[in-house]
């Protein structure tokens, strides 16, 4: 039988129950300020990378928390660890450390560095 050219597309939903949130758990344990984000976007507004490429620290934070790890893997390498995000954060979130920890967690899980 010939192929009809249809595929089943992956849903857009965040599958909260199936998603792997171990990266988030790793960060929560080591950087409790990770919990304090209120999604104000101060970090992304000041971020040099984010102003030049499709990269948002605010988005990265929430994606890690939701376990949307593939998207995080794709973009986290763009961070230059300059720390401006941490300077502007009104909640005192150590965003810079979150990026470092996430990279470490991915390395532990995946077996290789991002």
């Amino acid at each position: 039988m010939g192929k009809f050219g249809f595929t089943i597309s992956k849903g857009r939903q965040i599958d909260y129950d199936s998603n792997d949130r171990s990266i988030a758990a790793y960060i929560f344990e080591r950087e409790p300020s990770f919990r304090l984000c209120i999604e104000c976007g101060g970090c992304s507004a000041t971020c040099t990378t984010g102003n030049l490429t499709k990269f948002s620290l605010r988005e990265l934070n929430i994606l890690i928390k939701r376990g949307e790890n593939d998207q995080v893997r794709e973009s986290i390498g763009k961070c230059m660890l300059c720390g401006k995000c941490t300077l502007v954060c009104p909640r005192g979130v150590n965003t810079r450390n979150i990026v470092s920890l996430a990279k470490k967690a991915f390395q532990l899980t995946d077996g290789y560095a991002i």
Partner: protein
């Protein structure tokens, strides 16, 4: 002889408390550090949510307090404040000693000093002003840039000095959101050709008719609301202000040129309040405001016998809440002094 109550602070809370106390027969002294009463109300042109004139509230407060039996001492600050077995003694800067059976502290708030958020450029760039300075422009009926021209594009920054760990204020000042909405409407009313943008983290419209005002700002006045905390303001080559923010709902960084930037300064424990806390051994909380004995049912009660709190010296409050809180303080004083009252 009737009991003597001293009220410290002649703003909304102090005037309301003093007036009510005097009405029920106490001898009342009202201390005010400035040369006239009214406090912050004197600087505000119109009030949210109905945009009535602040003068009307001021007139009401004068009518019930200083036009009555209240003994008003202006230009008065406190040098000493102590409690002994039966009463409280206050020594003023004018050398007057007041002996009180009870004291109501109504020292209010100070507006956050916006120059502390250096990244917003207050005091650095022309045309970065505070919400209070905009009210002054409303009073003068003249919204203008430093060069005298009318601004065409105006940005309003919410949460300046509130919800910000970087300045040590974790709390929400509660009134800035609705003030921003009110001022945005007033700007649009005054300058029909202008465009107004509010930059907010969360819109906190938790008061009677606040949400309706927010809706009116959108519907009738075309005010734009952009969800993101402004990270910095700078200046372009042609001296326009440029702000950077993430449009969090679009998920992209946004920059915008503006003629004028209005900073919604939050509320902080007043310097006068801090001084009195130190003199009288009154407890303050993590938010630096006076710490009341119980958050739910003792919000007027202090840790010193005979000393009570009224109004925004305990937390940010709007005028309605301040007046209610002042009346509650009066009720506490009445109960405290009832046993041997004449």
């Amino acid at each position: 002889m009737s009991k003597h109550v001293v009220v410290i602070g002649g703003g909304v809370a102090g005037l309301e408390a003093a007036g009510r106390l005097s009405k029920v027969g106490f001898e009342v002294s009202l201390l005010e550090k400035e040369d006239k009463t009214g406090g912050h109300l004197n600087n505000w042109y119109k009030l949210f949510p109905d945009r009535r004139s602040s003068s009307e509230v001021n007139e009401y407060l004068d009518r019930i307090s200083i036009n009555g039996q209240v003994k008003l001492l202006t230009n008065t600050t406190i040098e000493k404040f102590s409690r002994n077995k039966t009463n409280l003694t206050i020594l003023t800067n004018n050398g007057e000693e007041l002996v009180a059976d009870a004291v109501i502290v109504a020292t209010g708030f100070d507006l956050f000093k916006s120059s502390r958020k250096e990244e917003y450029g207050y005091g650095i760039y022309d045309n970065v002003i505070t919400s209070a300075e905009l009210e002054e422009m409303f009073w003068k009926n003249n919204i203008a840039l430093v060069n005298g021209k009318e601004p065409e594009k105006i940005g309003i920054v919410h949460c300046v000095g509130s919800r910000d760990e970087k300045v040590g204020n974790l709390y929400c000042s509660k009134l800035c959101c609705v003030t921003a909405v009110k001022q945005a409407i007033e700007i649009r009313e005054y300058l029909p050709e202008s465009k107004v943008f509010c930059f907010y983290m969360d819109m906190r419209m938790g008061g009677a008719y606040y949400e309706e005002l927010y809706r009116e700002a959108q519907e009738k006045w075309g005010v734009s609301f952009i969800r993101g905390k402004v990270s910095e303001a700078g200046e372009s080559f042609d001296n326009k202000l440029v702000i950077k923010v993430e449009d969090t709902l679009a998920g992209r960084p946004l920059k915008m040129e503006l003629d004028m930037l209005v900073l919604m300064a939050g509320m902080e424990m007043s310097e006068g309040g801090k001084k009195i806390a130190a003199l009288g051994g009154l407890n303050t909380g993590e938010n630096k405001f006076f710490a009341a004995a119980d958050h739910h049912f003792g919000s007027n009660v202090s840790n010193v016998e005979g000393v009570f709190y009224a109004g925004t010296c305990t937390a940010p409050m709007n005028i309605t809440e301040t007046i209610s809180h002042a009346r509650a303080a009066v009720s506490e004083v009445m109960e405290y002094l009832k046993d041997d009252r004449k």
